[in-house]
Amino acid sequence: MKNALGVEIPEYIEGLGELQPYQGVWKSIIEDEVPSTNISRTLKAKKAHTSKFCDSLEEAIKKCEPFDGMTVTCHHHLRGGDGVLMQTIEILDKMGIKDITLASSSLTSAHDGLVPYVENGMITKIFSSGIRGRLGEIISMGKLKHPAIIHSHGGRVRDFLTGRIKPDLSVLAASAADEEGNSTGSHGPSAFGSMGYADIDARYSKNVIVVTDNIVEYPCVPSTVRQHFVDHVVKVDSIGDASKIASGTTRITSSPMDLRIARIGATVIEHSGLFKDGMSFQVGAGGASLAVAKFLREDMKRKNIQGSFMIGGVTSYGVDMLEEGLFKAIFDVQSFDAAVSTSVLNNPKHVEITCDQYANPNNCGAMTNKLDVVVLGALEVDVDFNVNVITGSSGEIRGASGGHSDTASGANLSVIVCPSFRGRLPIIMDRVHTVVTPGESVDVIVTERGVCVNPAKPNLAAALKKAGVKVVDIRDLKKEVDSMTGVPAKKELGDKIVALVEYRDGTIIDVIKNVTNLE
């Protein structure tokens, strides 16, 4: 069957079940509808004054009675410094557990160690919002038994609530926790800020283990994951590489190209009609995207504008803007640098939110639905404004869906900032390798050579032109770029499906085929 973007979607995939084709950004969201599948949480009683402490993660996992075919979940708040997910998999492997479904909220450079476990079939399914590095390469080569599912952050929450992901064991790292499992990422030697992705795991998993390098006296306050969801608590020497977990402050790029794109991006926002008191805003943490915040900050001060709230993906740069009073609050599902933790802990206007509140498409109050402006990056875009943030120029999996499609769908203005080409590879394609965010939810693509406005927004195009922004037809810009770079040779992909891209509503928006020419 074909989905709304013309992609052939299999009706059924062994190990994953029936698939629904993507129909459109809002087509499957029916207001006030209660879905037929709606999972309730597992109740697990304990008697009064019993201890949850286990001497080791191994002991805690044994108590959870792991079994072949189980689903194991983790969060990725420890970013590239995570040491907990690998420990968990190594312990399960030592116990001889096989056929594991791994459902981490994302996978980072810290998880290349999973490669042998995928290759030997210990891990047979992966759900994640991102897959990178060598792990991405071997999955692209077809080494994972069943196709990986790439979901959005909001989509992951919906996957738990509808039973697509059925967590049997969740191992949740915290930078501080007490004996009952009240835990947080906002303080302690390995503080990582918001723990927003872990909430859904804690609430819905059959067995929840909190792992920390820092047990604090009861009660641990403030706490994110609460004691009535936690089965076991483990103190370990280390939850990972502190230097990569807590990585200082995020700096604005010094790349002239990124700064130029960002300057244009901020100008687009200024003349979008949304640049006024009460504006809400989200920006990514990468290069040009974060740099838009720098220019927006200057523009807001110059025009004396006070925004309503920021969400994210929060960097210390966002915290600075909060402290300057440019926004009234930050809603933080994930903190990107160490300096943010202090703000999460101390500033009542810096509100930690769960991923459910952040972006779940099927609840009645996702923050992404309140967004005015979001600025996002792209690996590739196409003439229909579709955006790829998951596969690289050879078709290999090397990125993350994250909140890209969630925020683009909800925001009044979704702005993509990207160079028109990178290292000779044109970014504007006839069709992106993989659609993560559909063009229907993308309003503007900002490049250093001009701004492309979705034809569905003629008024916006007119307003920007009037303001002196260089608005160009995306097909003309593509021609211009191709004439400079040359047209890349077409690469043959295989015909085996190695991953499915799940849109935030649970339908399949694209498939990723195997790459045949990776070393």
């Binding site: 290292g423 000779r424 590879l425 040359g486 040779a489």
Partner: protein, 95 residues
């Protein structure tokens, strides 16, 4: 013409190309070794472009090593031309 000296032009920066030239004996022909971050997409284009410059400059005996990080055609041509001129000892005003 035949290169007399070892020479190079370019950098390893993104969007640039490093071109190295090694003199070879008369009559040993052209050997062009290319590595590139965009090999999959532009291998043929790189070969053609480099050989065109060598043709124009009438360089028949040479070992040219190109390490490309996604340079555009004008950059590639300029780097090859400069490396060749340096190897011939006719490039002025540079190293």
């Amino acid at each position: 013409m035949t290169p007399k000296f070892k020479a190079q032009a370019g950098t390893f920066e993104s969007s640039d190309i490093m071109v190295l030239i090694e003199p070879v004996a008369e009559g040993s022909g052209r050997q062009v070794d290319i590595s590139s971050t965009v090999m999959l997409q532009f291998e043929e284009d790189l070969k053609t472009c480099i050989n065109q410059v060598l043709d124009v400059m009438e360089i028949e005996n040479v070992h040219l090593i190109a390490k490309d990080k996604g340079a555009l055609t004008p950059t590639i041509k300029a780097r090859v031309e400069t490396a060749v001129k340096r190897s011939l000892g006719i490039q002025e005003g540079t190293l």
